[in-house]
């Protein structure tokens, strides 16, 4: 077990060990939806919510179902199934009871069912042997970190689209990857600050 308190872990997951910028997980929705800040915000909020909940859910399932039954090798399948079922359930609930929220956030939910960052967070907390509280902090922190990254890139892309005249080959995903790369370089500078594994 790692000796790092939940608050520090939360901070680390957002800034020094950002799941998107240091592990490069969850890139597909990131490239597709980061055209503007508004939709990035919606998708980001969905990721925060799902990642926090599934981190806790998967922690519980792993230690109270898979470990006692000696089925830990099935964790990949089960985690994915649980994430998918949870996302479905949340989508249905939001669509029914919070229509306004559904149009902002709900339509992005199916997109993140198979987001590898979500599964990644659940797997990291097993590999790094976090406790339940640490898992909660790590899940929430990773989600917020992912959201900050997509908002930052969305803002930069908005500005670039308005002011710069780009060669065609550089538009869209190409430029996004370059921006993300530069941002990742900046974030890697923090990487030694906090030991989280």
């Amino acid at each position: 077990m790692v000796q790092v308190d939940a608050g520090t872990l939360f901070f680390a997951a957002i800034f020094t060990n950002n799941i998107l910028l240091t592990n490069f997980l969850g890139l597909c929705p990131f490239l597709a939806i980061s055209r503007e800040v508004r939709s990035g915000l919606g998708l980001g909020a969905a990721v925060v919510f799902v990642m926090t909940c599934t981190a806790v859910l998967n922690y519980l399932v792993y230690y109270y179902v898979l470990v006692p039954l000696n089925l830990v090798h099935f964790r990949f399948i089960l985690f994915i199934v649980i994430i998918a079922a949870f996302v479905q359930l949340v989508e249905m609930t939001i669509e029914r009871y919070f229509p306004a929220l559904y149009y902002v956030l709900g339509i992005f939910l199916p997109l993140i069912t198979v987001n590898c960052a979500i599964l990644g967070a659940s797997l990291f907390l097993i590999i790094r042997e976090y406790t339940l509280v640490q898992s909660l902090a790590y899940g929430a922190g990773s989600g917020i970190g992912w959201m900050i990254a997509i908002i930052a890139v969305g803002a930069i892309r908005e500005k670039v689209q308005k002011s710069a005249k780009l060669p065609r080959g550089l538009e869209g995903p190409a430029l996004t990857l370059i921006i993300t790369g530069v941002m990742a370089l900046a974030f890697i500078a923090f990487s030694g600050m906090i030991q989280i594994q």
Binding site: L69, V81, A85, L89, P99
Partner: protein
């Protein structure tokens, strides 16, 4: 061994539990009760809410055209939703122009019936009906194309369509699909025969409907179809007619030729049919018979991939290039084009460049 079975059992159990949970949630959460839809301010219907508008209307006997089966990719199922549709979804915006957005146009497969709706659809869609058809005969026209001969058994008066229009054929659920699937196919038969429908269906790898037609469908089987749809049909005028097709795009052209032959229409008609090899040609006998029967009709097959053994005397190359060579500038013709999208697009571009006005070029892209 026992352990392996046990672990499999436990995993399946957990998965089944989650599925059950979702199923229960679905029946409680996705139940929107009864909703009212007013169509064109004249038709008023009470429907079960929660499903996409496209399918709800279908249950009510109003058939909006759709080629992709409600997956939000073909953009055929546009209707105007004036009230109750909610905001436009990101899944729709790529298919809607600024004018369409202003006039409340939506994709009916994406709009769910959650509130009472007020919608507007083109009047002619009220003429679209559902038919029960029986497969009388199937023939393999080429290695990849199958001809389907269907008899309309319900309703009794049969189908009334214009030569060139299409129907949507529905095939039942089978091994590869989770429910009935339907796709659009042009009618190749004679529009004067109301009791029969002929379709020409190219095999698409992994295609849900085409695979069924090519591998599972049996003679004598009953299917359902809706139609007729489409604005691609023979227009009246006294200009010459230029017909261009590739692959199964021959289907609506054949229907148009039936019209020319049946009604003794005295317009000069030329039909260019592009294919890769000799084995991709079909209906050649029928077309040659028409060359004799219709006074000024010519059938010109064009092959792009020739081998020595073919001993081909006819035209070679791509159909677009041939037309570019043969057609004078500002030609006095009406053009009907049907087939794969790249061919249709390059032909249309070429014809417009030759000075043909847009309203005399009719086309149907087979995606």
């Amino acid at each position: 061994m026992f352990e392996l079975l046990l672990s499999l059992l436990i995993m399946s159990g957990i998965a089944a539990l989650l599925a059950l949970l979702l199923e229960i949630a679905d029946s409680y959460l996705a139940d929107y009760g009864e909703r009212r839809i007013v169509v064109n301010e004249q038709k008023d219907m009470v429907v079960e809410g929660g499903k996409p508008l496209l399918f709800t209307l279908m249950e009510q006997g109003i058939f909006i055209p759709s080629a992709c089966g409600g997956k939000g990719t073909c953009s055929y199922c546009k209707v105007q939703v004036h009230e109750g549709g909610g905001p436009v979804l990101p899944t729709e915006t790529p298919y809607l122009s600024p004018e369409e957005l202003k006039t409340d146009v939506r994709l009916s497969c994406q709009v769910k019936v959650k509130n009472d709706l007020k919608i507007e659809i083109p009047e002619e869609l009220f003429l679209v009906k559902e038919y029960r058809v029986r497969v009388e005969r199937m023939e393999d026209l080429t290695p990849a194309i199958r001809g389907l001969h269907l008899r309309v058994i319900e309703p009794e008066e049969g189908i009334t369509f214009k030569a060139g229009q299409y129907v949507q054929l529905e095939v039942p659920k089978y091994k590869r699909t989770s429910g009935p699937e339907y796709r659009a196919y042009s009618i190749s038969s004679d529009a004067d025969r109301h009791d029969r429908l002929e379709l020409v269906i190219t095999r698409v790898p992994e295609g849900a409907v085409t695979t069924y037609v090519h591998e599972y469908l049996k003679e004598g089987e009953e299917l359902r179809a809706t139609g007729p749809y489409g604005k691609f049909y023979l227009r009246e005028s006294d200009r010459d007619i230029l017909l261009i097709a590739t692959g199964s795009g021959m289907a609506p052209i054949k229907s148009i030729l039936h019209q020319l032959a049946n009604h003794g229409i005295q317009r000069k008609a030329t039909f260019f049919f592009g294919a890769r090899t000799k084995s991709d040609l079909y209906y050649v006998d029928q077309l040659e018979a028409w060359e004799k029967a219709i006074p000024e009709f010519r059938f010109i097959p064009v092959l792009s991939r020739l081998t020595e053994e073919d001993r081909w005397q006819g035209e070679k190359g791509r159909v677009t290039d041939l037309i570019g060579k043969h057609l004078p500038d500002n030609p006095a013709v009406d053009v009907y084009i049907c087939g794969a999208p790249p061919m249709v697009e390059s032909c249309v571009a070429l014809l417009l460049k030759k000075g043909l006005p847009e309203e005399r070029v009719f086309y149907d892209k087979f995606e």
